[in-house]
């Protein structure tokens, strides 16, 4: 195979996603005979699956043009003068995004069958969202990354707005769009100031400029940071920029909520990693307090709000604000320390969070669809088990992914001298019991109307839930590494996360 072409192979996942999305657009009108919905769904599934497989394969066996970075086996390939970057982190994000899309797809299809989605757009937009996070993953400069975030956002607007069956959808999309645009403007302002300080927005030039930045310009950098962090805080739903999330999560159909809560958030965090840890690593300013404050606020506010929620979905929304707080703890630690521990911890947490919430929202969707949570154990034990696993992981119970992530992030915080933040995080974990446990108890031992029949579950949903909750356990089994037993799945994740850290901090 032509080496010239082979050097572009790393771009394949991204290209695949974009082309897949555009192809979907072409398919929308053309598929008329047969079952158009299934066709579109298969298309979306296949594209995501192949993107996932491709990125994993590329991670396992890097090809020509991917130069190793550091000794961890991390690598990077750059294109068009650094405008496009493909490295361990970007491959991980693509993998996560397409995996997330795959896992919500069955739920979305069932929802679409019930609601009056316009299927064509549905799948096209889902693909566009994944492609958007692909752009974020390999954007060589901040502005491109920002555009990627906007692509994701616009497709989510569309996805939420497409659903005409839910009364809340319109309201949700309206709030989301208005506040989202507002936040984007703020973020852009920050970017402009950053541009003013460094004269460029491309990451490597930013890095170069940051290292010998005249102190006189620090003020400008700080200003830019403040605004950009505010904008990002909106995207990841960190207090006090979180308030949209509950309403939007409630308004959107549950699988979509799951997608928002996981893929979008993770994408935004990767962008933040690129900007703060990689881009401005060198600049002699310590903005740890900024992130720490946001983290603290998110944990406190999220907990206090979540305690009073009656609707599980809103509760989950606020609880995901709390988890944003935990991730910000990791980010703060990463911003403070020069080692890769914190970044690795944060990335592992991102993976754990993604899997856990996909499982949780998936189960929630099915349960709410059919007779509520109470006594689900009698109705369908496996579903209840999956939900239980997800909840325990949210609590951070050992042998679940949640514990692994929390362990690494918290220990990173303590290691980076953010002990107070670590203690606060643990306190918030205590408080979070107050709203997770009752849910678990309802599922395990609630009384259920015997009239309700066992749950009708589409095969796809079964598979999705099994995979997500199963992966939660696999990743959680990583703790077995304490006994020197490297559990394959968890070990790979840890490695991948380590390399992601390495590419950010060469």
């Amino acid at each position: 195979m032509n080496t010239q072409l082979a050097t572009y192979l790393p771009l394949a996942p991204l290209a695949l996603l974009v082309l897949g999305a555009l192809l979907a657009l072409l398919l929308v009108p053309s598929v008329r005979h047969g079952d158009p919905d299934r066709t579109m769904a298969w298309h979306a599934g296949m594209v995501n699956l192949s993107a996932l497989v491709l990125s994993v394969t590329l991670w396992v066996r890097p090809v020509i043009g991917m130069e190793p970075v550091g000794a961890t086996g991390a690598f990077r390939a750059t294109y068009m003068g650094g405008a496009l970057v493909v490295d361990s982190l970007s491959l991980l994000l693509v993998a996560l995004a397409s995996a997330g899309a795959l896992l919500v797809l069955p739920g979305l299809m069932t929802a679409a069958d019930r609601g009056s989605f316009a299927h064509g757009e549905l799948h096209a937009l889902l693909l566009f969202a994944v492609a958007g996070s692909g752009v974020v993953a390999s954007a060589g400069d901040i502005f491109t990354g920002f555009l990627g975030l906007e692509i994701v956002a616009l497709s989510i607007y569309g996805l939420v707005g497409l659903d005409r069956s839910r009364p809340g959808a319109h309201e949700a999309v309206l709030k989301y769009l208005l506040l989202g645009a507002f936040a984007s403007a703020i973020l852009l302002l920050g970017m402009a100031f950053l541009f003013g300080a460094t004269g460029s927005l491309s990451l490597d030039r930013l890095q170069a400029a940051a290292i010998h930045l005249p102190p006189a310009r620090h003020g400008l950098v700080m200003l830019g940071l403040a605004a950009m962090v505010a904008g990002l805080a909106f995207k990841v739903a960190a207090a006090p920029f979180h308030m949209w999330s509950a309403d939007v999560y409630e308004g959107a159909v549950t699988p979509l909520t799951g997608f928002m809560a996981t893929v979008v958030k993770v994408t935004a965090f990767v962008f933040a990693l690129r900007l703060l840890v990689a881009g401005l690593a060198g600049v002699g300013i310590d903005w740890q307090p900024l992130l720490a404050a946001l983290a603290a606020a998110s944990m406190v506010v999220g907990n206090l709000m979540a305690m009073n929620q009656r609707k599980p979905k809103r509760m989950m929304a606020f609880s995901s604000v709390v988890h944003t707080g935990y991730m910000l703890v990791g980010l703060a630690a990463a911003a403070g320390s020069t080692g890769t521990d914190a970044v690795q911890a944060l990335v592992v947490y991102l993976v754990a969070y993604l899997l856990t919430n996909l499982a949780a929202f998936g189960c929630l969707d099915v349960l709410e669809r059919t007779g509520g949570l109470d006594g689900a154990l009698q109705r369908s034990p496996w579903l209840a088990t999956a939900f239980g696993v997800a909840l325990l992981s949210l609590v951070g119970f050992p042998m679940t992914a949640g514990f692994l992530g929390k362990y690494m992030v918290f220990s990173a915080a303590f290691g980076a001298g953010l002990g107070w933040l670590g203690v606060l995080a643990i306190l918030s974990s205590m408080v979070s019991l107050a709203y997770y446990m009752p849910l678990l108890f309802r599922v395990l031992s609630g009384a259920w109307p015997s009239s309700v029949n066992p749950l009708p579950l589409a095969t796809g949903e079964r598979v999705a839930l099994a995979v997500s909750s199963g992966l939660v356990l696999v990743l959680g089994a990583g703790i077995l590494a304490v006994a020197g037993w490297m559990v394959p799945g968890a070990h790979w994740v840890a490695q991948w996360a380590l390399q992601s850290g390495a590419v950010l901090l060469p």
Binding site: A83, F128, T144, L147, S155, F193
Partner: protein, 167 residues
């Protein structure tokens, strides 16, 4: 010197227009005020050696987007009672602008901290169509392409939402 005066006037017009836009009750009024702001901004761009941007500002903004907005307002043939009856707008504006004033003070303070070195004279053709075009299509091809993707997504979403039910 002339620049300074022009700059002062244009800035004044822009700010005044902005205030007008914010405080007009009827959207059409606000839209007209916005147009004024944009034209003034175009002037400022021109003063800042960005002729192409200035022109595009007038064309795209003044033309396309505003037209779109006005068009939609007309299309919906909004009657007076459909409008948000903005009772107590004054109070809300007062409060909003006060907080926004805090923001402004913060930004201004930040801006003041920057060393204010005067501008170097721009090289010939700076900000002209050639320079910007070369930048746009060579150095910044990727963002450009991404924006095209973005616009596609926007169209898909918009159509998906706006089109009537299929059934």
């Amino acid at each position: 010197m002339l620049d300074a005066i022009l700059f002062a006037v244009l800035s004044a017009v822009a700010v005044a227009g902005a205030l007008a836009m914010v405080s007009r009750r009827h959207p059409l009024g606000s839209a007209l005020a916005l147009i004024v702001v944009m034209i003034a901004l175009a002037g400022l761009y021109a003063l800042l050696a960005a002729p192409l941007v200035a022109i595009l500002q007038i064309l795209v903004y003044g033309g396309a987007i505003l037209a779109l907005i006005v068009f939609v307002i007309m299309l919906l043939n909004v009657r007076e009672e459909d409008l948000a009856h903005e009772d107590g707008l004054g109070g809300r504006l007062g409060m909003g602008l006060t907080v926004a004033g805090l923001l402004f003070m913060g930004l201004a303070a930040g801006i003041h901290a920057i060393p204010a070195d005067p501008f170097a004279p721009p090289p010939p053709g700076f900000g002209g169509i050639v320079a910007v075009g070369r930048g746009l299509f060579r150095d910044y091809a990727v963002p450009f392409e991404v924006v095209s993707l973005l616009l596609t997504v926007a169209v898909v979403s918009a159509v998906g939402m706006a089109k009537r039910r299929l059934d």
